[in-house]
């Protein structure tokens, strides 16, 4: 077989993680992106910088702080204990929380750009036609930002699939729980199993290439459409 059982297991785990992170970030990232696109608040700059931090921060730094926060002595750890939940580190949901932080800019920034490119005018038009702000958001802004949502979702999904440092810090290397594809490749290389490492790496390489190809094929079409409008 092309992939071993543990390889398939780590790939399946990676896909589940990427879907969960993308879904959560669609809900979390959309209001943040909307606020950043529309606000004139003096907090826009600091919040924008916080959102963008994972782009420049070494994953080990982010992973370290998240580990402290989610650990038994950390604020998140306290919270999970209060609700009778187990600690998040070294669990699947710990990975999800860490990945949500790490992939936040990949969701927020394309959405923010999409919302900014819409501008105020369509929303003003909707208001003169009797639409409340919330109504205009759902019936005008969201549909017009659809290309941004697609880009943001693909980027977030792909970025989560490719994570290594943060997941290793938070999830460790527990088969079926936190051993994602990138960690599995690392394990194969450590064990000098280059053949299996090749197979896994080829799958991720093909996936990444297809994602970028899809984006490059699809984006010019949507841009042309937008320009015609």
């Amino acid at each position: 077989m092309f992939l071993s059982e543990s390889d398939s297991q780590s790939l399946w785990l990676t896909i589940r993680l990427a879907f969960a992170v993308t879904a959560i970030l669609l809900f979390v990232g959309t209001p943040i992106a909307w606020w950043l696109a529309r606000t004139r608040s003096r907090f826009k700059g600091p919040l924008g910088a916080v959102v963008a931090l994972p782009l420049v921060l070494p994953p080990s730094v982010l992973g370290f702080y998240l580990l402290l926060a989610m650990g038994p002595q950390g604020p998140v750890g306290h919270l999970t204990r209060t609700f009778g939940m187990s600690a998040l580190p070294f669990t699947f949901w710990g990975l999800v929380v860490a990945s949500v932080f790490y992939s936040l800019p990949f969701m927020v920034q394309p959405l923010q750009n999409a919302f900014e490119s819409i501008g105020d005018h369509p929303l003003e038009v909707a208001a003169t036609l009797g639409a409340s702000r919330l109504d205009a958001f759902f019936t005008v802004a969201l549909p017009l930002a659809r290309p941004g949502f697609l880009t943001a979702s693909i980027m977030t999904f792909a970025h989560t699939v490719g994570e290594f440092g943060v997941v290793l810090m938070i999830g460790g290397n527990i088969p079926g729980v936190s051993r994602v594809a990138s960690v599995q490749i690392y394990d194969h290389v450590e064990a000098l199993e280059y053949g299996q490492a090749h197979h896994m790496a080829a799958v991720l390489l093909a996936f990444s290439f297809l994602v970028l190809l899809a984006l490059s094929v699809w984006r010019p079409t949507t841009l042309k459409t937008a320009r015609r409008d």
């Binding site: 369509p122 208001a127 003169t128 036609l129 009797g130 639409a131 409340s132 005008v140 017009l144």
Partner: protein, 352 residues
């Protein structure tokens, strides 16, 4: 409609200040670019908040700094047609048309959707994507969408300025007849004197952020004759022409005009500038101009350094412009008979 405005808005060094009460169903706001007219209508729609003042429409206060009232745009029932059609590109024609209608309370729905679609001649486009409509079709959809929101006031912010002449004169009858038919008063914003005369009765003229004149659209055109590069534009409704040699003879009331342009429409609208009319005290012996009209001077008016002469040509009205010296030389006074000469090529056929 009765609209009272007493507002002030400052943008850097520019201040818009308006203090006016206007009554009428077809009101114009006239002014050059930068005179503050678009800001004024944005304040009416609730899209821009005045720094101070009050806006009252038909007795209801929409904005007042003193009384701390600021009715949200979606609650004002004031719809807008914008310079660019501003249609929602993710919706087709029908969904665009119904956007405001669906959000309008049932008791406010006076306009029948099918009837409006028929009047605006949109039935064949309903399933179409916005990208597949011409400029004129898009503007008709935008008008229909605004009207179907059943507003108590329709604001039209230079809705024709993005269109070429041909489309502009196709749209004007729709704009006017639809609002008349459905009894929706409007404020029409434009910097075109011709559009003002075709669309409005009362006009508020703005310059440098201040209202400088409240008058009729006809009077405004006469007052601006001197400053307008095309003078006063006479708008003439003519009947179906017949070919006469190289020209076309158009019925004009009890008279006729010889014009170089052909038309196959039963009724044509033509423009004639006041600058293109030459007056003679007596019948000239020989003249190249193909139209020589015997007219009585009805009245005279001044516009800057020019004198406008209102002529009665066999029951039809024409405005010619001359300088004061010419008035003195020809002895033109009300009741005087003069001859007006107009070249056949001076008339401009309006597309429609």
């Amino acid at each position: 409609m009765e609209l009272s405005l007493a507002v002030e808005k400052r943008f850097g060094t520019f201040t818009l200040a308006a203090d006016v009460t206007v009554r009428g169903e077809q009101v114009g706001i006239f002014g050059v670019s930068g005179s503050g007219k678009s800001t004024l209508v944005s304040m009416l729609a609730g899209l821009v908040d005045p720094d101070c003042g009050e806006i009252v429409l038909n007795g209801e206060c929409l904005f007042s700094t003193q009384r701390r009232i600021n009715v949200r745009p979606e609650k004002r029932r004031i719809a807008m047609v914008f310079q660019q059609h501003s249609l929602f590109s993710h919706l087709n024609v029908m969904d665009n048309l119904l956007y405001g209608f669906k959000r309008c309370r049932p008791e406010h729905r006076r306009i029948d959707v099918d009837e409006l679609i028929r009047v605006l001649n949109l039935a064949q486009f309903l399933d179409r994507d916005m990208r597949h409509l011409s400029g004129g079709e898009k503007q008709r959809v935008a008008l229909g969408r605004a009207l179907l929101a059943n507003p108590r006031l329709l604001l039209m912010d230079e809705p024709l300025s993005a269109l070429d002449d041909s489309l502009r004169f196709q749209i004007i009858p729709y704009l006017k007849s639809v609002s008349e038919q459905f009894h929706i008063p409007y404020l029409f914003i434009s910097h075109s004197l011709v559009e003002m005369r075709l669309m409005t009765d009362t006009v508020l003229a703005f310059a440098h952020g201040r209202m400088v004149e409240q008058t009729s659209s006809e009077q405004l055109a006469r007052n601006r004759m001197d400053t307008s590069p095309v003078g006063y534009i006479n708008l003439l409704r003519l009947g179906l022409p017949v070919s006469v040699a190289d020209l076309y003879a158009y019925p004009w009331g009890d008279s006729q005009l010889l014009i170089s342009a052909a038309s196959d429409r039963p009724e044509s609208m033509v423009e004639l500038s006041s600058k293109d009319i030459i007056l003679f005290k007596q019948h000239p012996e020989a003249i190249s101009a193909r139209n020589l009209l015997r007219c009585n001077v009805r009245s005279l008016f001044t516009s800057g350094r020019k004198v406008g002469i209102e002529l009665d040509c066999a029951g039809n009205t024409l405005i010619a412009e001359v300088v004061q010296d010419a008035v003195n030389e020809l002895g033109i006074t009300p009741g005087t008979t003069v001859y007006a000469a107009v070249k056949a090529s001076a008339f401009r056929m309006l597309p429609g």
